[in-house]
């Protein structure tokens, strides 16, 4: 295989990674700043035997990817804040019915139509709590074009392994910035495919609880005729009003990631060894934070950074440990403190948490983070 080194934007890296992860269906609706994902896949999917469709709205796009995934085809949709809001009912459907799909949300400023062309990190809470009901969630946050590729592969792998929707939270900067990337040879990638039933069809229980907490999933058309419903169901997939059965099913959904936390949660630690001031950040804000950290180190201030690559499930343990080692924590984010609040909870009041926030559509300048570092010194 020849060189796969390109100048590429984050949205394109997502699209190419989807192809390499064996995603063969995309349904979407035009929305800035994510449309390049759809545009690129509209061209690429037919070239690899896949299919693309631009649906009539965001809700339909979410429904279509769930339908395709039930047919056994890995599926992707891409959107931004307003579209992510519209998709939420069907995202909840995918949680309850345990259908793997990947949703890319290239975040822009909100609420409402907000700031369509400008960066923001305003959907991190929506990625956890956007739909009604109790469930667990997975959301990943890349901070570069190369990482957008890697995390798209990972998003598909996690979604397939845990039978659930996974959200990839880019922000406008990561989606649109062009960087040099060297993509791996697809045959070197670790690709996970959903566990399929091995029992005879008449013995298949699509929602039976075993020790893995993740039941095998049959594809429609493969001889396992079963029922899928958005009503709370028993292990056969049919609706139930039995309180014990309801409780058992919903609690499994809520705890199904518990045994796998160390596998799912990824953080990057930089210069944390002797740090006195800690930065906890993610996505494009980590880039400005990184510059600020370098400048502070040059000025003799011992700063370390914990970058959240996994946003949900929240890296509570890593943050708590980091909080034990530093005197104060700074949380820069392009919203008014959505993750800072979670960080406060995680460190249980052991050190003070300082917020650095920006919601005016501009990215961070490293100086404003550096100034906060100096204040905390």
């Amino acid at each position: 295989m020849g060189s796969r080194t390109y100048m590429m934007q984050g949205n394109l890296a997502v699209a190419e990674a989807a192809i390499d992860a064996n995603c063969r269906f995309f349904a979407g609706y035009p929305i800035t700043p994510s449309s390049e994902v759809a545009e690129h896949l509209s061209k690429r999917l037919p070239q690899v035997g896949g299919r693309f469709i631009q649906m009539e709205d965001e809700i339909a796009a979410m429904g279509a990817v769930i339908g395709a995934s039930l047919g056994g085809v890995k599926s992707l949709t891409a959107t931004s804040g307003p579209g992510y809001s519209l998709k939420q009912e069907n995202i909840g459907y995918a949680y309850l019915t345990e259908v793997p799909v990947v949703i890319v949300n290239v975040m822009r400023g909100g609420p409402s139509t907000g700031l369509p062309t400008l960066p923001s990190q305003s959907d991190v809470m929506q990625a956890m709590w956007g739909t009604h009901g109790d469930h667990t969630a997975i959301a990943l946050s890349p901070a570069s074009v190369g990482e957008s590729y890697d995390m798209t592969i990972r998003a598909f792998n996690l979604s397939e392994k845990f039978r659930m929707p996974v959200t990839l939270l880019l922000d406008e900067i990561i989606g649109h910035v062009y960087e040099k990337v060297s993509l791996p040879d697809p045959k070197d990638l670790h690709i996970v495919n959903r566990k399929k039933p091995t029992c005879p069809p008449d013995k298949y229980l699509p929602y039976a609880e075993d020790e893995s907490l993740i039941p095998p999933m049959a594809s429609f058309g493969d001889g396992y005729r079963y029922h899928v419903t958005g009503l709370v169901h028993d292990e056969t997939g049919f609706p139930t009003n039995n309180p014990e059965t309801i409780d058992k099913m919903l609690r499994r959904l809520h705890r199904k990631l518990d045994p796998y936390m160390s596998e799912i949660i990824e953080v990057e630690e930089r210069e944390t060894e002797n740090a006195e001031i800690g930065i906890v950040t993610y996505g494009s804000s980590a880039r400005a934070s990184s510059s600020a950290m370098r400048a502070a180190r040059e000025a003799g201030i011992k700063v370390g950074m914990l970058r959240l690559k996994t946003i949900w499930p929240f890296p509570t343990e890593a943050i708590f440990k980091f909080g034990q080692r530093v005197k104060s924590i700074i949380v820069p984010e392009l919203n008014l403190g959505q993750i800072a609040h979670e960080v406060e909870q995680a460190i249980k009041g052991t050190v003070k948490v300082h917020k650095v926030n920006r919601i005016n559509g501009e990215p961070f300048h490293p100086d404003e983070i550096l100034n906060k570092i100096k204040e905390c010194k």
């Binding site: 269906f25 279509a64 599926s75 958005g230």
Partner: protein
């Protein structure tokens, strides 16, 4: 014929009220599928929310009960992933023309090969009888205490205008005709819709004082006018009538076939 091989016997009895047409429609669907000799493993039945949408729970196919109004988008994704499946959508007037109206017209426009069986009962039955886009003007509903103030959708006409290959209308009184129309929809490549008039004695009949449950079904006999006869009748004469039969049967390229052909030419 034996219906049980097509049914999930343990899920019976069904939830539909006495006098409801939905069970009769289901019988016609099963007969048509049986007559066409379709493989149960290669049938998917997708529905939204409402009385009609409970149908997939009773049939032994690949069945998908989705969110309100969204059966057609889920079915679109499934069909694009697995074109070899025969994909039925079972829906109602509220599900498909109110909350799901946009999906209905766009799927018809694309002409994707879905077989939509739309039970029109003029009301939101499952939620207790609220007014629907197909409640006749002046008729009562729990949210139309002064009578329905809005015009009704002509669902079949809407679907013809949107570009579907095959559109028909029938009633649960005309079981033989309905069965044959479903067979035709199975044979047809492209978007097919059959508007099935299915009375709701509980939520629509009672509040509109239609009398005994059977009256609503029997009334379909006198209300129905075959499409050939209807074309010579005036709008006044057609008021309150149900125009039955095939309203469109056209050869239009099917979406997925066309997609595969065009994209393979231009790789």
């Amino acid at each position: 014929m034996d219906y049980f091989p097509y049914l999930r016997k343990e899920k019976l009895p069904h939830i539909w009220c006495s006098g409801c047409g939905d069970g009769i429609a289901l019988k016609c669907i099963i007969r048509a599928i049986h007559n066409k000799g379709l493989d149960k493993n290669k049938i998917a039945m997708v529905s939204g929310i409402g009385c009609s949408s409970r149908t997939p729970g009773y049939v032994d196919f690949n069945t998908l009960h989705t969110t309100h109004g969204r059966a057609i988008p889920f079915a679109t994704g499934l069909k694009m992933a697995r074109p070899e499946l025969t994909v039925f959508v079972v829906t109602g007037d509220g599900d498909a023309t109110a909350i799901g109206g946009n999906h209905l017209i766009h799927a018809a426009r694309r002409n994707i090969d879905l077989k939509v069986l739309l039970y029109n009962n003029h009301i939101y039955g499952m939620t207790g009888g609220q007014v629907s886009p197909c409640t006749p003007m002046g008729d009562y509903a729990t949210t139309a205490p002064y009578g329905c103030l809005e015009n009704s959708f002509d669902i079949a006409g809407l679907t013809v205008a949107a570009g579907a290959s095959f559109v028909a209308r029938s009633t649960v009184y005309h079981v033989k005709a309905l069965e044959k129309l479903i067979e035709k929809a199975i044979d047809k490549e492209g978007f097919s819709l059959i508007e099935i008039m299915s009375p709701c004695p509980t939520s629509y009949g009672k509040i509109n004082k239609k009398g005994a449950n059977k009256n609503l079904v029997l009334a379909q006999k006198t209300q129905s006018v075959p499409v050939n006869k209807a074309k010579d009748m005036s709008p006044e004469d057609l008021k309150g009538k149900i125009v039955t039969g095939i309203l469109a049967d056209r050869d239009i390229p099917e979406y997925i076939k066309n997609y595969d052909m065009l994209t393979s030419q231009k790789k």
